[in-house]
C-alpha cells in the first residue's frame, strides 16, 4: 500500500517572545526554514519577536 501523501504546506504556530502566551498561526511550505518575524503583541502593546514553535521544540 502506498504511503499517505503529506501535504506540501504545514500550519505553524508563531509564539510571542514577550512570554504573554499570544501566538499567531501561519502556513508555510513544509520544506521552508522555520518562520520568525516581528509582529505586534496586543498584550504588551508592542512589536515583539515571534518565533515558530513546533512539537518538542525541534526545528531545523
Amino acid at each position: 500500500m502506498a504511503k499517505k501523501v503529506k501535504s506540501r504546506t504545514i500550519s505553524v504556530r508563531l509564539i510571542s517572545m514577550a512570554m504573554t502566551g499570544y501566538f499567531r498561526t501561519m502556513i508555510r511550505p513544509r520544506t521552508h526554514r522555520p518562520l520568525s518575524m516581528l509582529k505586534y503583541d496586543p498584550v504588551v502593546k508592542k512589536k515583539v519577536l515571534f518565533l515558530e514553535a513546533t512539537k518538542g521544540g525541534r526545528n531545523r
Binding site: M17, A18, M19, R33, S36, M37, L49, L51, T54, G56
Partner: protein, 203 residues
Amino acid sequence: MATTQPTTSLVNKLPARLRNFFARYPPQVYSAAVAPRPEAPETATVTTNPEELPSPYTPNRDAKGFKRPDPKEFSPSRALLYSDPKHPNPFLPRKNFRTGKWSGPRFGLRTQAELVNLAVKYNVEALLPPGRKSTEYKDTRRNERGLAIKGTGIGQKVKGHKWERTMEARLEDRRKAMMEMPEMIRLWKQRGHGRGWKSWPKR
C-alpha cells in the same frame, strides 16, 4: 454612659417604647453594665456527679452527665451573652433545667435590633441587657472572626483562581522578557532574520 438612676426629665425624653422596656426590665438589674460576667460563674444547678445522677438509661441528656459549658471557657463574644438565672436576660434564650426545654428570648432578634437602634439613638444603649444586637457584642465578634469577607481574618487566606495565584510570576516573566527584547531583536536581525537562529521555543 447614662446613670442607672436616670432623672425624671431624662426618662421623659425617651420614647415610650424604651420607657416601657426599662420599666419592665429595670437597668439596675438587667443592663449590660450590671450583668454578671464569666468571672463569677453561675452556680451549678445540674449535678455532674455520676453517683447522684438518676439513671443513665433516660433520654434526658442531663442525666447522662451532660456538662453545662463552663462560662470561664467562653469566647469573649459568647461571654457577653451571659444571663443571670435569677433575672433571665430577655434578649437570650434559656434552658429550663427542670423540664429540659428551651424557651426563646422574650424579644425576637428583630425587636432586639429595633430596641438597640432606638437606645443608640438616645444614647442609653448601656442600659439595655446584653444581646446579640448590641454594639459591644458585634464589635467583639468581628474582632474574633475578622470581617465577613473570607480570608481577611488572622491567619486566613483564600485559595483563589489559578490565574490569580500565578499572576505575579507570569507578570515577572513578561517583564524580564520585555527587558531582553531589544537585545533579542538585535541578535535576530544580526543572524539573518532567523536564518542562524538556534533556540526555538517549545510549543
